[in-house]
């Protein structure tokens, strides 16, 4: 087993991130040409990134609409963060694991989890509606940061069992302040675990801006202190996100250890539908970020390069519409819950006391319906 000391691989790799966010396609949609640190993904990947971002944005808008109509208990939108949501997930291999937070619903849609299963938490049906093993996606984490340790543990097990798996832990700027994030980065580096941390720095932890969250020049610098390779990237550049995560996964898979990636992006919507962002930020700031839109950026690039025609875009938008309709149909129907679920999975086998409480509740429900 490799120990925590710097291997030749890691010594050769620059631990500190660049001073400015790396990007491959600039905000205007032109090739950025940042040198050799990241390679521009091939054309088919760029087209797929664009397609999935268009679909992801449409699904996100649909989920917001369904919340207004009362079909979801709450929805934390990731509008504006599509490059991170889609770029990171498409960089995963089938055997790799995703550890998403509550804001990463578009990411789990991109990992092909069906709408009804993906939205179970936010619809209020059950805490996690999908089978984590089927998709290799952990339950969406709502306390934040706690799941970074689970990702490290899963990666450590992959390392010990010699299975070729990498864990991708998603977190935000707020979660970077939590103690569990510190412990996760430290354990990952000490164990040289095959894990990638993707910090989506979207500027706000609910209402608290980054300046009140950290005095670090960039969150990516935090990795250096743990002896971990770190990257600072433009989180609205899907090509850069894909390339950075892909490279980090390849490094982790070959035993070169974990990577911390800070992707600088912006939360265009309020924290959730229940939040009022006007209380803590100016509209001008939002407008400035809308001008850096990740979907339009890649679309401009693809059109300029002759990789995307009007007909292609129309087809993608039609597909997004079909997916949005499927989401609406899946969530606007009757909610089906089973009160017995409350007792059946607390332990592997219900205890006598829980069996009695289950019987009590079911009888109470029967009586109420009689």
């Amino acid at each position: 087993m490799k120990t925590s000391s710097l291997t030749e691989d890691r010594a050769a790799a620059a631990l500190p991130p660049s001073g400015t966010p790396l990007c491959l396609i600039d905000p205007a949609g032109h090739p950025a040409g940042t040198g050799s640190l990241l390679d521009l993904p091939p054309a088919d990947v760029l087209r797929e990134l664009h397609r999935q971002m268009v679909i992801g944005r449409r699904l996100d808008a649909q989920a917001t609409a369904l919340t207004r109509q009362g079909f979801l208990a709450v929805y934390p939108s990731s509008r504006g963060q599509e490059a991170c949501q889609v770029g990171s997930v498409l960089a995963l291999r089938e055997q790799d694991w995703l550890f998403p937070t509550y804001r990463d619903t578009v990411a789990i849609f991109t990992r092909s989890i069906p709408p009804a299963e993906a939205m179970s938490l936010l619809r209020g049906e059950w805490h996690c509606g999908y089978d984590p093993y089927e998709h290799k996606v952990a339950p969406q984490c709502t306390p934040l940061a706690t799941s970074t340790l689970h990702a490290v543990g899963l990666a450590r097990a992959a390392q010990l069992r010699h299975t070729d798996q990498v864990a991708l832990a998603m977190l935000g700027d707020g979660a970077s302040s939590e103690g569990d994030t510190h412990e996760a980065l430290n354990f990952a580096a000490v164990w040289n675990a095959p894990v990638v941390f993707l910090v989506q720095n979207n500027g706000y932890a609910i209402s608290v801006p980054l300046a009140k969250q950290t005095a670090a020049p960039a969150l990516a610098y935090k990795g250096v202190g743990y002896g971990m390779r770190s990257l600072l990237i433009d989180g609205n550049d899907a090509a850069a996100v894909y390339a950075a995560v892909r490279t980090a996964i390849a490094n982790a898979a070959k035993g070169a250890g974990p990577t911390l990636i800070e992707a600088v992006t912006y939360r265009v919507e309020a924290h959730t539908n229940a939040d009022d962002a006007a209380r803590y930020r100016e509209n001008a700031e939002v407008e400035a970020w809308l001008a850096r839109d990740p979907v339009r950026r890649l679309e401009t690039y693809l059109r300029d390069q002759g990789m995307l025609a009007d007909g292609d875009l129309a087809r993608i938008e039609a597909e997004a519409e079909v997916r949005a309709t499927a989401l609406r149909e899946a969530l606007s129907g009757e909610v089906k819950t089973d009160p017995a679920d409350l007792f059946d999975h607390v332990y592997a086998e219900p205890t006598r006391a829980l069996a009695a409480q289950r019987e009590f509740l079911l009888a109470e429900i029967d009586q109420a319906q009689a």
Binding site: P139, T146, A155, T163
Partner: protein, 335 residues
């Protein structure tokens, strides 16, 4: 997992029994891992993991960074990926940084995923006082864990139970908080081949007709001493060792109290909101018409754990237990 050959016809300490159980589990199941602070090269501050790193290698038994949430959180991820972690929290009060990982994740992940994710993790925690430990080394933290659905909370009182209950905990598909009473670490007993009645059952340590003393972990020995001393007063005392604090073995405990008609609950943790309150409430609900006296509790005071030179005043001893027994509204022939 099958249980290995029993190691000891000669008496062994609880520490040795726990060490033997870990060795058996590591030997029998390649998925089992042991990790925590100082558990590798050193063999643990109480030597419970002595020699295991040398015997099984540092991929199976290893030291972690000093971070309890990290230990539990990474154990959860390892269990999600097919391993069976047995982790050590070095002392009771040092487990608190892991509280969120234990209560929000370890206890709930099976339920959150409707049974799809199973976390067969054992969290070993040396707990309780009476060993002269300075502050933060003597807490009885069982009620924090028993109040959390999804956890099993087990505490052995004897070396034999330490061996068998630890093996049963490791084999259990549920997460287990395994509380080891530090003051009993150096008690000695032969380990019988019979694994006992099962992980979720209480046992009657001493049969008696007049009173049931209900205890667990470090104070079972004290209850046994009190029962022996009580014979001089003409009281025939039954002692129940709960072993499994959660789930609670209602059947065994209620049957005992229905037979004797009197019950005293003994634990060293603070009384207010403590585990004994739950036991008293359940017995009142289940045995009211059999009771000849109110159920009493003999517990530690409602104070932070005292410094070593004062802890003897805090810990329930034989006299305090016998005083409680004397207050159980006896007929004249017992008074």
């Amino acid at each position: 997992m099958t249980e290995g050959v029993i190691t000891a016809a000669e008496p062994v300490t609880m520490v040795a029994a726990l060490n033997a159980a870990l060795g058996t589990a590591l030997e029998d199941d390649p998925r089992v891992l042991v990790f925590g602070e100082d558990v590798g090269t050193l063999g643990g501050v109480f030597r419970v993991t002595d020699g295991l790193a040398a015997r099984f290698g540092e991929e199976r038994v290893f030291d972690t960074p000093l971070a309890e949430a990290g230990i539990i959180g990474t154990a959860i991820g390892m269990a999600m990926n097919g391993l069976v972690p047995v982790v050590e929290m070095q002392f009771d009060a040092f487990a608190y940084p892991a509280f969120e990982q234990i209560t929000s994740h370890l206890a709930k992940l099976r339920n959150r995923t409707r049974g799809r994710v199973s976390l067969p993790i054992v969290v070993r925690i040396p707990y309780g006082g009476a060993i002269g430990g300075v502050e933060h080394h003597s807490d009885s933290s069982e009620a924090y864990y028993t109040h959390t659905p999804g956890l099993r909370v087990i505490t052995p009182a004897t070396p034999a139970d330490a061996y068998h209950l630890l093996l049963q905990s490791i084999a259990c598909p549920d997460p287990v908080i395994f509380l080891e009473p530090k003051r009993r670490y150096w008690s000695r007993e032969a380990i019988p081949a019979d694994p006992g009645p099962g992980i979720d059952r209480a046992v009657i340590r001493r049969p008696g007709r007049d009173v049931t003393l209900i205890s667990y972990g470090g104070t079972v020995g004290t209850a046994m001493e009190a029962a022996a001393a009580a014979t001089e007063e003409g009281w025939d005392i039954e002692v129940v060792d709960l072993r499994s604090l959660s789930p609670f073995d209602d059947a065994t405990v209620s049957a005992s109290v229905r037979r004797t008609g009197r019950a005293v609950i003994v634990h060293e943790a603070s009384g207010f909101g403590g585990y004994g309150a739950e036991v008293a409430a359940r017995l009142t609900e289940q045995c009211f018409h059999y009771l000849l006296a109110p159920i009493l509790r003999v517990t530690g005071f409602d104070i932070p754990y005292p410094p070593p030179k004062l802890e003897q005043h805090h810990l329930p001893g034989v006299d305090r237990i016998l005083d409680a027994v004397a207050r159980l509204q006896w007929d004249d022939d017992h008074a």
